[in-house]
C-alpha cells in the first residue's frame, strides 16, 4: 500500500518529525545536502570530476524516487582551493543551511581544515580521495582508499612480477606523498627485503625535473615509485620520456595517476607505466559499463573517469543506503548504522563500509596505453582498511 501511494506521489515518505529529530533541512518532500569542492583555483582541475560524479549519483537517486521519499536538493559551495575558505563554507553548510550531509573535499589539507568543523557541528562528510590514512572520524565516511590499501598490494605485485629489489621514491611535497612513501619504505625494507636508493620531494607546481632525472639515471633503480601530483605530473612524465626513460627500459609504478591526470599528461608519455588504483575506467563489469555510459551521456563522449571520480560517485549511494537503513536523516543514526553497509552496484564492484568508516575494496594494477586508458593486469582480494597500520609508523 505504501509503495503504491508513494509511486503515485500522494505520500512522500515517513513523516518529517520522525526522520529528522535534529533540525536538519528536511521537508516533507525534499532533503538538502551540501557539495563542497574547489570550482576555482589550482585544485579545480582535479575536483571537477568529483563534482560531476556526485551530481550524477544524486540525479539518479532522485529519478528513482529520492531518499525516504524525498528529492535531494544540492547547495554547491566553492572552496576555491583555499583551506580557510573550505572551513568557512563547511561551517556555513552545517550551521546556516543545516544540510543533511556533505559530499566534498579533495586534498588532505582541505579535509584537515574542515574536520574540526564537522566534528564540532556534528555533520557528515563523504570524502572521495585516496589519502594518507592516520585518521578516523565518526563524522567522515572515506570512500577512497587509505594508504596501506593502495600501496602494499601494489608493491607486492611489482616486486614479484618484475623481481624488483631497488626503489626510487619520488613525491610532491605534502603529507599524502610523504606518508605514503613512509609506508612504502617500511614495506620495501622490512617485508620485501629490498632497498630504497633515493627518496625526494618537490614543491607542488615544480616543473623542472632535469636534476632528479639525472640522479635516477645514476642510481638505476629497478622501480621508480612516483607520487607526483597536479601540474608537476605533466612536466615529470614529459621530461622522463624526453630523457629516454621509457617503459622499455624502466619500470615505473605510481599511485597518483588516474585517467584524469592522463588527459593532461598525454597517453603517449605514459605508455607502459603502471598505476595502482582501486578503479579504472576500463574495468570490465556490468555496473561499470552502465556507470560509464551514464557519465558519458551526461558529460559528453570525451569525459574520462578516474579513481576519485568513481569514489565520489559512491558517496550519495552510501548515504542513501545508510539513511534508509537507519530510517532517519539524523547524523548520529547514520554514523551508527554505516558500518557493514554494502553496495553491490558500485562500478568498482562490491564495497562495504568498515567500522572505521573506510571501505573494504580491491586494488588493481593498470598499465597505461597510448589512448589514455589502462589495461587491468592484476586484481587483489578485498583489502581491509587499516588507517593506523601497525609497524608502518
Amino acid at each position: 500500500m505504501m509503495m503504491v501511494l508513494s509511486m503515485a506521489g500522494l505520500l512522500a515518505g515517513p513523516p518529517t518529525e520522525e526522520v529528522n529529530t535534529t533540525g536538519l533541512a528536511v521537508t516533507d518532500d525534499t532533503v538538502t545536502v551540501g557539495q563542497l569542492h574547489s570550482a576555482t583555483g589550482t585544485m579545480a582541475i582535479s575536483e571537477t570530476g568529483s563534482i560531476q560524479a556526485e551530481q550524477l549519483a544524486i540525479d539518479q537517486i532522485n529519478a528513482m524516487g529520492g531518499v525516504l521519499g524525498r528529492q535531494i536538493e544540492v547547495i554547491k559551495e566553492d572552496g576555491a582551493s583555499d583551506w580557510p575558505t573550505f572551513a568557512e563554507k563547511a561551517k556555513k553548510l552545517l550551521v546556516s543551511d543545516k544540510v543533511g550531509t556533505v559530499f566534498g573535499c579533495w586534498t588532505s589539507a582541505s579535509r584537515k581544515a574542515v574536520l574540526p568543523v564537522f566534528e564540532k557541528e556534528n555533520g557528515m562528510l563523504y570524502y572521495p580521495t585516496f589519502y594518507e590514512g592516520l585518521e578516523q572520524s565518526k563524522n567522515v565516511i572515506y570512500t577512497g582508499q587509505e594508504a596501506t590499501q593502495q600501496i602494499i598490494a601494489g608493491l607486492d605485485w611489482i616486486a614479484e612480477e618484475k623481481d624488483a629489489k631497488t626503489f626510487y621514491l619520488i613525491g610532491s611535497d605534502y603529507i599524502w606523498p610523504r606518508t605514503s612513501n613512509k609506508i612504502a619504505r617500511k614495506h620495501i625494507e622490512n617485508v620485501l627485503g629490498g632497498k630504497v636508493v633515493g627518496e625526494e620531494y618537490y614543491a607542488l607546481g615544480h616543473t623542472q625535473f632535469g636534476s632528479l632525472i639525472n640522479k635516477i639515471k645514476l642510481k638505476k633503480p629497478d622501480v621508480i615509485y612516483a607520487i607526483v601530483v597536479g601540474g608537476s605530473n605533466v612536466s615529470f612524465y614529459k621530461q622522463l620520456k624526453a630523457a629516454g626513460i621509457t617503459s622499455e627500459k624502466q619500470t615505473l609504478l605510481t599511485i597518483s595517476v588516474t585517467e584524469d591526470e592522463v588527459l593532461g599528461i598525454g597517453g603517449e608519455n605514459l605508455v607502459g607505466f603502471y598505476s595502482a588504483m582501486k578503479y579504472f575506467q576500463s574495468l570490465d563489469n556490468e555496473n561499470n559499463k552502465a556507470f560509464v555510459a551514464a557519465f558519458k551521456e551526461k558529460y559528453g563522449e570525451d569525459a574520462v573517469i578516474g579513481d576519485v571520480t568513481q569514489a565520489a560517485y559512491l558517496g550519495p549511494w552510501l548515504w542513501k543506503a545508510a539513511v534508509e537503513k537507519a530510517g532517519s536523516f539524523d547524523i548520529d543514526k547514520i554514523a551508527e548504522v554505516s558500518p557493514d553497509i554494502e553496495l553491490t552496484t558500485a562500478p568498482e564492484g562490491y564495497v562495504k563500509i568498515h567500522p572505521n568508516h573506510h571501505l573494504w575494496s580491491k586494488l588493481r594494477i593498470g598499465q597505461w596505453g597510448e589512448d589514455g586508458q589502462a589495461e587491468v593486469l592484476y586484481e587483489s582480494e578485498l583489502i581491509e582498511p587499516d588507517p593506523f597500520p601497525e609497524g608502518y609508523q
Binding site: 570550482a39 576555482t40 559551495e77 566553492d78 576555491a80 583555499d82 583551506w83 580557510p84 575558505t85 572551513a87 568557512e88 563554507k89 561551517k91 556555513k92 550551521v95 546556516s96 588532505s108 589539507a109 584537515k112 581544515a113 574536520l115 574540526p116 564540532k120 594518507e132 592516520l134 611535497d173 605534502y174 603529507i175 610523504r178 606518508t179 613512509k182 620531494y201 614543491a203 607542488l204 593506523f388 609508523q393
Partner: protein, 383 residues
C-alpha cells in the same frame, strides 16, 4: 577638542566617522548577525591589522611590500604552536606512538618535541613572540635592504620572493611545521574552549578592540611629526636625507612596525579561524592584503579597514553565488581602483562630499597631488 584628540582626528567628521565605525562593528554587527557570520567578520578584520600596517608603509612611506603574508604567518604560527601544544596533551594523543607531541609530528616519525617548539608551551612567551619575531625578521630584512637604498619595485619583488620562500620552507619541513596542511584542530586557550559561540563572541570583541586601538595608534603616528617625515621620505627622499634624517632607519622602523601589526593580525586570525596554514601566507594572499588596502584607500587608516571588510565580504558573497564572476569582478575592481581611484574608497569621499563624513579621510588635502606624483626615487626608478 582636547589637544590629544586633535592629534588623532584632524576634523570633527573624522571623529564622527570613527565612532560610527565602532558602533557598526561593536553594536550593529553583533546584533544583526548570527555568530557564524560575525566570526567571518572577525576573520576579515584580522586582515585589517595588515592593512593598517600597509597604510603606514606603502601609502605614507611609499614602500610597497608584497610579503606581508610572511609576518602575518609568523604571528599566526606562533599562536598556532601554542594552541597546538595545548591540544596535544598526552591524554588526547594517547593513540600516537609518541603521545604528547602534535599529531603531525608523530606522523612524521618525530619522537620528541623540536627545541624551538619548547618555549611555546608558555603563553607569555608566545604573546611576546607574536610581537618580537615579526619585528626582528622585518628589521633584519629591512635594514639590509634600505641601508643599500633598495626600494620601490626591487623591494616589492624581493619581499614577494620571501613570501615564496616562507611558504615553500613550511611545505618542505612538515615534521616541524605541519607542512601544507598547516596546524589544524586547535581547541583551547588555557583550558578555555575557543570553538564555542561564547568564545567566538569574546574573540570578536577582542579583535575589534585591538584593531581600534591599532587604528588610533596609526592615526596618531600619521598626524604627528613622524607621520610627516614618512610622507617626506616618500615624496622627497633626498631632501629628507639632506635635512639630517636617516632615511634607512625611518623605513626600517616603519617596516618593522607594519610587520608587528601583521603578526597581531595573524594571531587574531588563528584564534578565530582555528587553524593556520601556509596557504594564507604565500604570494597570492600577500598580494590580496595589498588589494584590501588599495581598495579601501592606501592613505587612510579607516579606509583600509573598510577595504578589508568590503573585499572579503564580496569574496564570500560572490563566491557563494557566482564563483566564476568573482575573479572577473575582483580583477576589474582592482584595475579600476588603480586607474581611476588611486586612493580607493576613502579617496571617493573627497569626490562625493556627502559621504565624507561617513568615511573619514584625513588625506583629502593630499589626494590631488598624489595621483600624478612620482614615487620615491630609489635605485628602481632612478632615471
Amino acid at each position: 577638542m582636547p589637544l590629544f584628540l586633535k592629534t588623532l582626528f584632524k576634523t570633527r567628521g573624522e571623529a564622527i566617522g570613527f565612532i560610527a565605525f565602532l558602533v557598526l562593528v561593536l553594536v550593529i554587527f553583533p546584533l544583526a548577525m548570527p555568530v557564524f557570520r560575525l566570526n567571518l567578520v572577525g576573520k576579515y578584520l584580522s586582515f585589517g591589522f595588515v592593512a593598517i600596517g600597509l597604510v603606514l608603509l606603502w601609502g605614507r612611506c611609499g614602500v610597497l611590500s608584497l610579503g606581508q603574508g610572511v609576518f602575518f604567518g609568523l604571528g599566526g604560527y606562533c599562536m598556532a604552536m601554542f594552541l597546538k601544544l595545548e591540544a596535544s596533551d598526552p591524554e588526547s594523543t594517547s593513540i600516537q606512538s609518541t603521545p604528547g607531541i602534535p599529531d603531525f609530528m608523530d606522523w612524521n616519525q618525530l619522537t620528541a618535541l623540536p627545541w624551538f617548539w619548547e618555549p611555546f608551551k608558555s603563553l607569555p612567551f608566545t604573546i611576546l613572540a607574536i610581537f618580537v619575531v615579526p619585528a626582528v625578521v622585518a628589521f633584519i630584512i629591512g635594514w639590509a635592504m634600505f641601508r643599500r637604498k633598495v626600494g620601490g619595485v626591487y623591494f616589492a619583488i624581493i619581499t614577494q620572493a620571501l613570501a615564496l620562500i616562507m611558504s615553500l620552507g613550511i611545505d618542505g619541513n612538515q615534521g616541524y611545521t605541519g607542512g601544507r596542511n598547516g596546524i589544524t584542530d586547535l581547541r583551547t586557550l588555557l583550558g578555555w574552549d575557543i570553538r564555542t559561540e561564547d568564545a567566538q563572541y569574546t574573540l570578536y570583541f577582542l579583535c575589534v578592540v585591538l584593531l581600534a586601538l591599532t587604528a588610533l595608534a596609526a592615526k596618531y603616528i600619521i598626524n604627528t611629526r613622524l607621520g610627516r617625515v614618512l610622507v617626506a621620505v616618500r615624496d622627497q627622499e633626498d631632501r629628507v636625507r639632506f635635512s639630517g634624517y636617516d632615511v634607512a632607519i625611518v623605513r626600517t622602523s616603519v617596516f618593522a612596525f607594519a610587520a608587528v601589526l601583521s603578526g597581531i593580525g595573524g594571531a587574531m586570525f588563528v584564534l578565530q579561524v582555528g587553524f593556520m596554514s601556509p596557504s594564507i601566507i604565500g604570494i597570492v594572499p600577500s598580494i590580496e592584503m595589498v588589494i584590501f588596502t588599495a581598495v579601501g584607500g592606501r592613505l587612510s587608516v579607516m579606509g583600509a579597514i573598510i577595504g578589508c571588510l568590503i573585499v572579503n565580504w564580496g569574496k564570500t558573497a560572490f563566491s557563494e553565488a557566482y564563483p566564476d564572476a568573482w575573479l572577473y569582478l575582483m580583477g576589474g575592481t582592482f584595475i579600476s581602483v588603480v586607474m581611476f581611484f588611486p586612493n580607493g574608497i576613502a579617496g571617493l569621499a573627497e569626490k562625493f562630499p556627502r559621504i565624507r563624513s561617513l568615511i573619514p579621510a584625513s588625506v583629502t588635502e593630499r589626494i590631488k597631488g598624489m595621483a600624478t606624483k612620482k614615487t620615491t626615487k630609489t635605485v628602481s626608478d632612478g632615471q
